[in-house]
């Protein structure tokens, strides 16, 4: 005899096993998404600038390449990727527009992902909504996928640079 005997008193059918596994996977994935959605994470462009190698503002360049020149927020630009079949995009739009209105120097920019697929690939966007926080220099400093709460957006906005 090798391995544990997985049968209970009444052996479960294959269909029942598929059902149990599907429900377990759905609950685990749903809980993971509940915890991770809307959480801003620092992104790879965040690193200490070096005098010999000035950073190229890759994220904002990519955005302006795709959309043409648009306003870059002095403090932060919240770039939201949305699509037509996206229920949480509406709530995200409302929250980001709200933040842009109350915080000076913050701009909200919504991008229709399916009409800018090159930009989507370039910035590695996999889901809608995805929100990028781009600083006043055009660098991506954080991103969140899924609808963020207002506090999460506010805490992802960089503090005003006191020297400038």
């Amino acid at each position: 005899m090798t391995g544990p005997d997985l049968r209970f008193n009444s052996p479960m059918s294959t269909g029942a096993w598929v059902a149990v596994v599907a429900i377990a996977v759905a609950l685990a994935f749903g809980l993971f998404r509940m915890l991770s959605d809307g959480r801003f994470r620092g992104t790879k462009e965040l690193h200490v600038p070096h005098e010999d190698h000035p950073r190229e503002p890759h994220a904002w360049d990519a955005v302006t390449d795709a959309l043409g020149e648009t306003e870059l927020g002095a403090r932060a630009t919240l770039v939201q990727f949305s699509s037509a079949f996206c229920a949480p995009c509406r709530a995200t739009r409302r929250i980001l527009a709200d933040v842009a209105e109350i915080v000076p120097g913050v701009v909200h920019l919504e991008v229709d992902a399916e009409h800018h697929l090159d930009l989507v690939r370039r910035l590695d966007i996999l889901r809608t909504p995805t929100t990028l926080v781009i600083d006043g220099g055009g660098f991506e400093i954080a991103r969140a996928s899924g609808a963020p709460r207002k506090e999460q957006v506010l805490s992802a906005i960089p503090a005003m640079d006191l020297e400038s």
Binding site: T14, A16, V18, A19, A22, A84, R90, E114, R121, L126
Partner: protein, 148 residues
């Protein structure tokens, strides 16, 4: 396109608990398709295929689920916090339909395990929708557009 869909949605949005209720019923029918012996598993698969086809073809406001929701569930609930665009759940019904067509064909051809796996994948999406109001089918849209 997102502008027009959001504009129409503000006028003719749907109660987001409608699709959630529909997903709960979908969970029940798919469970029957997995747990009942034949020929009842096949019957449940046919029923769910037809239901997904109605949701895809006529929209989520014109399904039997939507009728049940309006008639019996919504009167017992308070007003929704906000209305939702009906396009995302309708698209997701189409994704569900694709999985159910595979399951149906596999059951008919005798490939029971294939049918059960296709039903299991549809069940994952339906549970996510019913419990978390999270639309897995909707997320497939951008991925298809990105990689297709």
């Amino acid at each position: 396109m997102s502008e027009t869909s959001s504009q129409t949605a503000t006028q003719t949005g749907i109660d987001p608990r409608g699709p959630q209720f529909a997903a709960a019923l979908t969970v029940v029918v798919i469970l029957l398709a997995l747990l009942l012996p034949q020929p009842w598993a096949l019957v449940a698969t046919v029923i769910q295929t037809v239901l997904f086809a109605i949701g895809t073809g006529l929209g989520v406001q014109r399904t039997p689920h939507a009728w049940l929701f309006k008639k019996f569930v919504r009167p017992r609930l308070g007003a929704p916090d906000e209305l939702e665009d009906p396009a995302p759940p309708r698209f997701a019904q189409g994704v569900g339909l694709a999985f159910l067509v595979v399951a149906l064909a596999a059951y008919v051809l005798g490939a029971t395990l294939v049918a059960q796996i296709a039903l299991g994948l549809a069940l994952v999406a339906a549970v996510l929708n019913a419990v978390f109001r999270f639309c897995l089918g909707c997320e497939i849209y951008l991925l298809i557009r990105r990689f297709a």
